[in-house]
């Protein structure tokens, strides 16, 4: 199975790096960045499939970053990462800003399951965007 290309955004470098390593062990193509500008730069540099964004990012809240990312690339499926759930996250899912939500500390099985679902969503979005023009090529 073609595992997702994942970009992890968390200011806690230690956590981000470890998670990336664990995802890579599970054959995901994961990378990590530690701030919102870095994340935006990465998205504009190369297409991402799934992004896992910490809600509490310094400088720019996760939801604002998600909005900015979707403006650059509307197909990216975003999973929000936070210490707590709230009505807001529910609303964001409802509005289609994010596809899912994971609580810290993360259970790796839960995360991978949600990433896989997000990847499917991303693929579906690509199909919708391209319409009948054939499948968008993936590296």
């Amino acid at each position: 199975m073609n595992r997702a290309k994942v970009l992890l955004v968390d200011d806690e470098a230690e956590l981000a790096q470890t998670l990336v390593r664990r995802l890579n062990i599970r054959h995901y193509r994961a990378k990590s960045v530690y701030s919102a500008p870095e994340a935006l730069e990465a998205v504009s540099r190369e297409a991402q499939e799934v992004m896992v964004i910490d809600l509490h990012l310094p400088g720019m809240p996760g939801n604002d970053l998600a909005r900015a990312v979707r403006q650059v690339d509307s197909t990216v499926a975003i999973i929000m990462l936070s210490g707590q759930g709230s009505m807001q996250t529910e609303n964001w899912i409802h509005d289609g800003l994010i596809v899912d939500f994971v609580m810290k500390p993360v259970e790796i099985q839960e995360l991978t399951k949600k990433i896989d679902r997000a990847k499917n969503e991303h693929d579906a979005r690509c199909v919708r965007r391209d319409g009948g023009r054939g499948k968008h090529g993936q590296a």
Partner: protein, 587 residues
């Protein structure tokens, strides 16, 4: 843990410090209400009662004065009437006696036969006439006509004889005379025709007629009216002071013409109205003594007014009662308003406290969450690496359980932080159609084992008619479990727990979970919904259960209340709307 102990002690003393001023304040407030009640009662009472009292008093005195005046006038009129009647009567008798003396010659009258003839004639006219007698200037009998012919005396020294000799006419006092018959005498002097000297015609009369005139004055049983001669000799029988001719001590009699009335307080007569009038041309004074009891005649006149007084008293009574009740109502209203206000303040304080503690807990949980996540991932990575390279290390068997232990501990920590976070904000809310009865049955299922072990009787009283509601199954489960757990902890082995559901008055659902356990003391009851407040022994309770439940039920748009009687038991009553309107708490 010594630290915890100090904290608890500090909390305890702080609680006392908080509670004692509240008790004092309550006592002061009760005093204040009491004095307020008294003040309102008397103010309203004075405002309404004093004018009424003044009007009543003025009316009473005015009426009294009018009645006394009327009474005096009436008495005066009656006495004048009697006096005039008496004077007219006496004048008539005097005139007729004088007339007989003048039309008949001394010689004719000296003969007993012709005197007797005149006597017979006059007796027909005046039945009270007793006898007629002609006296010479020496006071000796010349002739006599009447029933007592054999008794004769010399009248020269008698008062009436002397007065008749001097004034030409005299009316005597009443006296028994030789014949022991009460009578009075009218004597007229007549000159001897053609020579010096005079003679006197004496006519004696029965006093009965006098008595009749006196009786004309209307009297009640306790009053008295009589004739008196001089200052102290009764001339007619007095009802209260004896028979005629007895002596009586009276106040000084007025010698003026006309009726004189006076209010007296005499030793002999007592209190009363004393009226007297001189009967002109006679030695008599007409006296009337009206006792104050007769003044009570005023009271009988007042009979209708007494009814009015009675009605006034009833009205005043009703007024006082209404005043009392109105006062009571006003003060109660004030008390209720103040209580409601205080409760509202206390409630908002409580909510604010919960919110701030919630924010604090959220902050702490957040800060712990990040390092916890790192520990979790590092341990996970170690595990991953071992699994990737099973051949790499011989110690794998030893390391893997250690890593697992770290993961498990992190898991426990996560539960705590998530609960803390959920205290103010819940994590994932999922509203669905649920049957509260089912949720309760599931919860009971969790607890069944403990119930059996501890021989606790469970009385499930679930109303199957309650409608489905839109709410969060997991959260409700958590709340019910929390409260049911507390109930199990509260009852003794063999105790009883009751769970019941019903439709609430407002249309929602009502769930009551009660136990017959130890009950909750009042000072504890105030704090049971606060986070970290627990009375359970260390390690058994987090102090979060009820505060979480409180937060959850609030978020689901419901209410949670607790009633507890010490040594009798506790009941938690939860009301839920049929459709949960999920709201943010402490955000």
């Amino acid at each position: 843990m010594p630290e915890e102990q100090t904290t608890e002690t500090r909390l305890g003393s702080a609680k006392e410090m908080l509670l004692s001023p509240i008790r004092t304040a309550t006592a002061i407030r009760n005093d204040r209400y009491k004095s307020l009640k008294v003040r309102i009662f008397f103010t309203v009472g004075t405002l309404a009662g004093v004018p009424l009292l003044i009007v009543t008093a003025v009316c009473f005195f005015w009426l009294h004065a009018v009645l006394v005046e009327d009474f005096s006038r009436h008495l005066r009129w009656q006495m004048e009437h009697a006096q005039e009647g008496l004077e007219f009567f006496l004048q008539g008798r005097v005139s007729s006696t004088r007339y007989f003396a003048s039309v008949n010659s001394y010689e004719a009258l000296s003969k007993e036969r012709s005197l007797r003839a005149i006597f017979q004639k006059r007796k027909q006219e005046y039945p009270e006439l007793i006898d007629l007698e002609v006296l010479n200037s020496g006071g000796k009998r010349v002739s006599y006509a009447g029933p007592y012919a054999d008794k004769s005396s010399n009248y020269a020294q008698h008062d009436w004889f002397i007065r008749a000799k001097v004034h030409g006419v005299a009316i005597s006092q009443v006296f028994p005379g030789d014949r022991n018959l009460l009578h009075y005498i009218i004597a007229v002097r007549q000159e001897m025709p053609g020579r010096e000297g005079f003679w006197i015609l004496r006519a004696s009369f029965d006093i009965e007629t006098l008595t009749r005139f006196v009786a004309e004055i209307e009297l009640s049983e306790r009053d008295d009216a009589f004739l008196v001669a001089g200052n102290d000799m009764l001339q007619t029988t007095s009802r209260l002071h004896g028979a005629a001719l007895e002596r009586i001590s009276l106040p000084v009699l007025s010698q003026q013409k006309g009726v004189s009335l006076a209010n007296i307080d005499d030793e002999v007569i007592g209190k009363g109205t004393f009226g007297s009038v001189k009967v002109q041309g006679s030695p008599w004074t007409l006296v009337a003594i009206i006792k104050p009891a007769t003044l009570a005649r005023i009271a009988t006149m007042l009979k209708r007014e007494i009814l009015a007084v009675y009605l006034i008293i009833v009205f005043v009574g009703i007024g006082v009662l209404m005043n009392y009740r109105t006062t009571q109502r006003i003060v109660n209203r004030i008390r209720e308003t103040e209580k409601a206000r205080e409760e509202a303040i206390a409630h908002s304080e409580h909510s604010a406290k919960l919110a701030s503690i919630g924010r604090l807990a959220t902050g702490v949980a957040h800060e712990i969450n990040n390092p916890l996540a790192i520990i979790n991932e590092k341990a996970g990575l170690i595990k991953d690496l071992f699994e990737m390279h099973p051949e790499s290390s011989g110690c794998q068997k030893e390391f893997l359980p250690l890593v697992q232990a770290i993961s498990d501990s992190v898991s426990r920590c996560r539960t705590i932080t998530h609960r803390l976070l959920g205290f103010a904000r819940r994590m994932e809310i999922s509203i669905e159609q649920i049957n509260v009865n089912e949720v309760l049955r599931e919860v009971v299922g969790f607890l069944e084992r403990e119930l059996v072990v501890r021989n606790i009787r469970l009385e499930l009283n679930l109303d199957d008619q309650i409608p489905h509601s839109e709410s969060d199954r997991g959260l409700l489960q958590q709340v019910f479990l929390n409260i049911a757990n507390n109930a199990i902890d509260a009852v003794k082995d063999g105790g009883e727990i009751g769970i019941s559901t019903m439709t609430a008055a407002g249309g929602g659902l009502k769930i009551v979970i009660r136990d017959d356990g130890a009950g909750i003391p009042k000072d504890v009851l105030k704090h049971i919904f606060e986070p970290f407040f627990t009375t359970k022994e260390k390690g058994r309770g987090t102090g979060l259960g009820l505060s979480l439940s409180y937060g959850i039920i609030k978020r689901l748009g419901g209410t949670i209340e607790v009633d507890s009687v010490l040594h009798r038991g506790t009941a938690f009553t939860i009301t839920l709307p049929l459709k949960s309107d999920v709201r943010e708490i402490g955000a």
